[in-house]
């Protein structure tokens, strides 16, 4: 007889603790690991009814015995890195190999004097890390802290408008014959009145790999950031990530992510708009097939008056793929004149795919403009017919409609080469 989910979960937790028991800590980060162990004991692994995982099936992840990957079996060479560097970022890329910052493989020459890039343990953020762990409510972010042994801290000085985009490249190398997991951590502090364009790329990602990242972005007063993220390849891997963004007065953050799926992909984004007039824009697109899963869990906390948050998520589902979007705007008392819009659209290209949606508003102020909506639909047959009556084949018409649905998000990816890549990879998947 097969094990119950509860038994599987318990076995996975025991295994995790056993791995932690023989974990070779980075001494400078050991306090963070220890705090995470404490927090993990409080949180426990989620069961079926956990609010954050209502739509996420963790069974497959929990049946795999992972090994923590301390580093690559064979260090990647420059050529392996450079092929993943976007045009325009040739002298402004930061490389993390299996979760750890690799100073030698990185190149930030064009940003000299404008930003500081340091290994996490040598950066200024240990106290903040400790604080973050104690408040952590996401079990996988907690596991990231439990095995935190490297990462990168990026500091963009006050009053610096970067003209060159910064690329953050995550390389996962894997170990032959083993299922490995990594704990990448990226912290980006954007100074007062500064502006930056960041593009994140995940590469490598062998099958059965569990990529479990945390990214923290601190936006000081008047800071602005445009963040692009393309997740491609690694269809057989687990990609989990949490992004925590803190936004001070008049800061602006626009993040657009495009994902071509994975065995299970889960993204948790927690944004605190703590200063008046902060503006958040998030866009996400996932193109899924087979039994791939992509789950988004988003929380925007409006803690100051006059802030805005705009969210649009689109999923295209084929085969027996599964997508979910659980998104909430929480308006704290006193956060008057909040503007919040959430929209989720799912395009179902098969009868066996599944999409779950939960857009929520929690409003504790009376003078706000908040709206949300969600749709699930198929390709519109009237549109298909209209195109066929102009000479397009049925397949051409459907492909054009589907890519049109995706393009509304892809076209918003701030960094053009990343948009082109998303266009190429995601649209190829639709062919």
């Amino acid at each position: 007889m097969g094990m119950t989910l509860k038994e599987i979960t318990q076995a996975w937790e025991s295994r995790l603790l056993e791995l932690y028991g023989r974990f070779e800590s980075n001494p400078l980060l050991r306090p963070v690991n220890e705090a995470a162990a404490k927090r993990l004991a409080e949180l426990g692994l989620p069961g079926k009814k956990h609010e954050m995982f209502t739509f996420v099936s963790l069974r497959e992840l929990f049946t795999i015995q992972f090994e923590f990957q301390y580093g690559p079996e064979k260090a990647p060479d420059e050529g392996q890195v450079k092929k993943h560097v976007y045009p325009g970022c040739e002298q402004s890329y930061i490389v993390l190999v299996d979760g750890k910052f690799d100073e030698k493989l990185s190149n930030v020459v064009s940003l000299t004097g404008l930003i500081t890039v340091a290994p996490l343990e040598k950066g200024p953020d240990i106290a903040a890390l400790m604080d973050g762990v104690k408040k952590e409510n996401d079990i996988f972010a907690c596991i990231n802290s439990l095995f935190l042994s490297g990462g990168v801290s990026v500091e963009i000085r006050d009053g610096t408008k970067l003209e060159t985009p910064i690329q953050i490249l995550h390389l996962s190398t894997g170990i032959a014959g083993k299922n490995t997991f990594t704990s990448p951590r990226v912290i980006v502090n954007i100074g007062s009145g500064s502006g930056a364009q960041v593009v994140e790329k995940l590469a490598g990602n062998p099958g059965g790999h569990f990529f479990n990242a945390v990214t923290e972005v601190n936006m000081k007063e008047g800071a602005s950031a445009q963040w692009s993220r393309v997740q491609s390849g690694g269809a057989g891997g687990f990609h989990f990530s949490k992004t925590r963004i803190r936004m001070a007065k008049d800061s602006r953050f626009k993040g657009v992510g495009a994902s071509s799926g994975g065995k299970v992909e889960r993204h948790n984004c927690e944004v605190r708009l703590v200063g008046e007039g902060a503006e958040l824009t998030l866009r996400g697109l996932a193109v899924l097939e087979g039994t791939e899963q992509a789950h988004s869990y988003f929380r925007a906390y409006h803690e100051a008056p006059g802030c805005s948050s705009y969210q649009l998520f689109r999923n295209i589902l084929r085969g027996a793929s599964v997508a979910s979007v659980d998104t909430a705007a929480v308006v704290r008392p006193g956060a008057q004149l909040t503007v919040s819009e959430q929209l989720i659209n799912n395009l179902m290209l098969s009868g066996t795919a599944r999409a779950d949606m939960k857009p929520i508003l929690m409003i504790h102020a009376d003078d706000v403009k908040c709206k949300h909506g969600a749709t699930v639909g198929r390709v519109d047959e009237n549109q298909v017919f209209y195109m066929r009556s102009r000479g397009l084949s049925d397949a051409q018409a459907r492909a054009l409609l589907t890519s049109g649905f995706a393009k509304s998000v892809i076209n918003e990816i701030p960094f053009a080469p990343a948009a082109q890549e998303a266009d190429r990879i995601l649209l190829r998947k639709l062919e």
Partner: protein, 246 residues
């Protein structure tokens, strides 16, 4: 070119066309007139092959082929064009790109080399200036956010690009102001070069002041009750359709 014989057809099990016969030859312009709800649009949908509309009996031959056996894209590639009464909005699909794909589908059928976006832009610009159509039509999504008149102009633009052999215009004049109507009629007249044929379906005789049909047919209760020359349109303007409805 087009030969319709005793066509009986309908929608949702309801018989709408009750025995239509009509022959349209190369170089001819025909007009089908009649009040709303009497089968004019059903005929246009049957001609383009809309799957919701079913043929019960009768035949339609197009250049000697059985039209009813051809899928809609095949009809389009063989030169049939329907200018829709209610053109469909397609968000996310660029209008120029859509027209280029349709144009390339036609070129492919003719065994010609396909055009890239740059070459097509020239072709499109030429047609747009010919029809006096604003450049915003190029950038926008197909019909999305277009006014009623703009949608009709966009249909005519597509027609001008695709240069069909048989154009079926379904109420192309409805919702158009007089200036837009002139643009549309001009586009239609430029197309009519003796090699093509046109079937203009309309409720109002107004359009026929600009497009001069060789034959006018009155459709009532799914049947052609009277056919005549251009003067029939003028007569209908004075008398209306009441005398034909029993």
């Amino acid at each position: 070119m087009l030969e319709i014989k005793n066509l009986v057809a309908g929608l949702d099990g309801m018989e709408i066309l009750k025995g239509i016969s009509l022959t349209v030859n190369k170089g001819e312009i025909h007009s089908i007139m009649g009040p709303n709800g009497h089968g004019k649009s059903t005929l246009s949908k049957i001609l383009i092959g809309h799957p919701d509309y079913k043929v019960i009996s009768g035949s339609v031959a197009y250049n000697g082929r059985n039209l009813l056996e051809m899928p809609p894209e095949e009809r389009a590639l063989e030169g049939i064009f329907l200018a829709y009464q209610y053109p469909v909005e397609i968000p996310g699909v660029n209008n120029a790109e859509f027209m280029r794909m349709a144009y390339n589908a036609k070129l492919k059928r003719e065994g010609k080399e396909l055009v890239d976006a740059l070459d097509f832009e020239e072709i499109l610009n030429a047609k747009m200036s010919l029809l006096g159509i604003e450049s915003k039509f190029r950038e926008r999504s197909v019909n999305e956010g277009f006014s009623g008149g703009e949608k009709k102009k966009n249909e005519i633009l597509q027609m001008a690009i695709l240069e069909p052999r048989l154009a079926v215009l379904d109420e192309i004049d409805s919702g158009l102001d007089i200036d837009a109507l002139k643009i549309v009629a001009e586009g239609v007249n430029k197309l009519a070069d003796g090699n093509n044929a046109l079937l203009a379906i309309t409720h109002y005789p107004r359009l026929l002041q600009y497009i001069k049909p060789r034959s006018v047919h009155v459709m009532i209760h799914g049947k052609i009750v009277r056919s005549g020359g251009h003067d029939l349109a003028r007569e209908l303007e004075e008398t209306g359709y009441d005398r034909y409805i029993h």
